[in-house]
Symmetry: C2
Subunit: 408 residues, 2 copies
């Protein structure tokens, strides 16, 4: 066979162990926090019938969606977000699900976006949603839960920008799309876009509309959401009513939320809102709903920038070397012992390799402890400190476990 | 908008919380066991260039693969297994990865298979692989790790069927494919297939070949693998040399393994083997490799049949009810307290709902403890026993935490 060039598609990524363990670290914290609020896990298929997804995300969404014909001639599409599949699930299993239905979901979504903007074509979303509650408490709880997640990840300063889509009731979806870019492109260019798109005749008129929006006061609904969020423990400074916040997606009906981390300038790390009409498309009957999604890649980037990852996320804690064929049995029994005491332990498999190679392996894999069996009863233990300094200790094999009790 | 019928594609599944939590239970045990042996997590993209996957799984594989043209006119394919993407990764990142490279991977794969056979078109695979070791210890460790995973899941009786592909050295891939079905369709029909496929002229000849295979003795290599597996703690009864074991996939070169659970008759719950030539397709240089994959859906089914799931996997432990708007603040502060003590606690969001509805909700969601604030200082605690019996207790709010210390 000819050699095939190993390569990945643009916008798609391999996560080698170094990256994968950072991802796991965040995923596990999010999962814990979500579950602590009573959100339960849901998984939906990667592929859906095309008509389930099409037309729910606006024109842009339809364009970026991965769609194709499957082997059976069905038009199918890859998951584009987790909200529309959730809406489908709620309609499909309305008799089975509890009311309200609070679920979290952490699955990949696919968008054939321009990768030059630093965007990926396959990425993880982490969502929480509460279905069948029309209480502002539901919106507030979503915010409180997202705030708690950020805290548990180690972030201290962040802010929820909150608005009510109803503020835009006299404004077209196209104009909302333009206003949504205010933060990114500035007022002047938004006004320009509003005029060139034919939304308003003159820049004066567009500027006037924009000014009116800027001066809007919170609706009663948003006041309620903000006050409930405070009662759920969210700090007042973390909640900012922002009348110019628009959010692109078509399906939002009232509350809209965007979450930013102070000092992290690449953009919001999450967003969401209320979408009281979406489920109706599938169930024939409107069901209120509110949700929030973390942008996982931005969370990781912000964690990196703020150095919030613990120094050692390596899952393998100990390497037991195999210095010679004669000592293999000893190496195996030591590693069995450690493993059965819940210490992740790798044993060197090749009984003929030089010790030097085994040390290098431990270094490359970032393993902090290396055990070298010396004879039937003694081992050398090499421990790497946080600064990378290696200390060597000779000890009796039966002392090893005791030693690790304090360090691992 | 017209109502869209909510439905899923044949062979694709939603996992509602009841199912999702069973999946999580198994995933977490597998992850722990894999990591305890030093396997580290890898993730690869769902979509690959078509030529990376095509032709690696035999004719059948190419047929069942999900392939299409993306928006940029590239031929792409959805992940079909985790071994070929791993081979690509090893070739692509050979300078970065440790040697040996031991990785685990738990991602979905897609196959447009006949769903009538009880097969799914999207399903999870859980793989461990060791790359760059040509020692039989590597094969043995894969077996030992898989055995440990089954034990931790609660299975007691299971068996690894082991063979060496080299036994078939004078036999064509087509004939191996037929022999692979021996267990499923019986000797008579295998002989028939060998003849009709033109592999042998007469049934006598085919029967003779089959007999010779049946009488084969273990190769030296397989003897080594089996003896090393024993030295790694695998029970002798769990290791069965099986000369008629063939396994369908084209890429295996020597060791082949299938894992069966006693009393679970739907088929093997996992399989694997050595594939020393696959990585060479991408790297231009052969690199030895051995791996094993659990079939996740069968594991779940076997766990169900043998009743190995813990009785309560519900993630939400407590529901704090909201009996009236006046008591909402109390409900919130109780739930905050429990949550900050690591007890997953849901608070009822709608301050105007009848208590009866809140109780029903707890029942539907399988929540074991329901707290009903009575006034500023007292609560009623309703606890559900395993048999479903509900006990009611009146206690001071500040005793609640103490109470849960013993029960949750």
């Amino acid at each position: 066979m000819n050699k095939i060039e190993p390569r990945t598609l643009k916008g798609f990524r391999d996560f080698l162990p170094n990256e994968a363990r950072k991802r796991q670290y965040i995923i596990e914290i999010l999962k814990k926090v979500f579950e602590s609020y009573g959100f339960e896990r849901l998984e939906t298929p990667s592929l859906e019938y095309e008509d389930i997804l099409l037309g729910k995300y606006g024109e842009e969404g339809d364009k970026l969606m991965y769609r194709f014909e499957d082997n059976g001639g069905r038009r199918v599409a890859l998951r584009y977000d987790q909200t529309v599949p959730l809406a489908r699930v709620v309609a499909q299993f309305s008799n089975t699900l509890p009311t309200p239905f609070k679920r979290y979901q952490m699955q990949n979504v696919w968008r054939a976006d321009n990768t030059q903007k630093g965007r990926f074509r396959e990425f993880l979303q982490c969502d929480i949603d509460t279905i069948s509650s029309d209480s502002p408490m539901a919106d507030a709880e979503i915010i409180a839960c997202a705030a708690q997640a950020l805290k548990k990840l180690g972030f201290e300063k962040f802010r929820f920008f909150i608005n009510d889509r109803k503020i835009f009731k006299d404004i077209s979806n196209v104009a909302i799309g333009a206003i949504d870019k205010l933060k990114k492109i500035g007022e002047e260019r938004v006004v320009e876009e509003l005029v060139t798109r034919g939304e308003y005749d003159t820049s004066e008129k567009a500027t006037q509309v924009l000014l009116e929006i800027k001066q809007s006061t919170p609706t009663y609904w948003i006041e309620e959401v903000i006050s409930k969020a405070k009662s759920l423990g969210v700090d007042e400074n973390q909640l900012a009513f922002t009348p110019t916040l628009a959010r692109g997606l078509d399906y939002y009906t009232s509350t809209i939320i965007e979450l930013e981390i102070e000092g992290y300038t690449a953009g919001s790390v999450g967003g969401g809102g209320r979408y009281d009409n979406l489920i109706g498309i599938f169930s024939g009957q409107d069901i209120p709903a509110v949700g929030f999604a973390f942008g996982f890649d931005r969370l990781i980037e912000a964690m990196e920038e703020k150095k919030l990852f613990p120094p050692d996320l390596t899952t393998t804690k100990v390497l037991v070397t195999t210095p010679s064929p004669k000592l293999l049995t000893i190496s195996l029994s030591i590693s069995n012992l450690l493993r059965s005491n819940s210490i992740n332990t790798e044993v060197w498999l090749d009984e003929n390799a030089k010790l030097e190679r085994q040390f290098k392996y431990a270094e490359k894999k970032d393993i902090s402890y290396v055990v070298i069996p010396l004879d039937n009863e003694t081992v050398e233990l090499r421990s790497k400190s946080k600064s990378g300094k290696i200390t060597k200790n000779k000890l009796r094999t039966d002392q090893l476990l005791e030693q690790f009790k304090y360090s691992i």
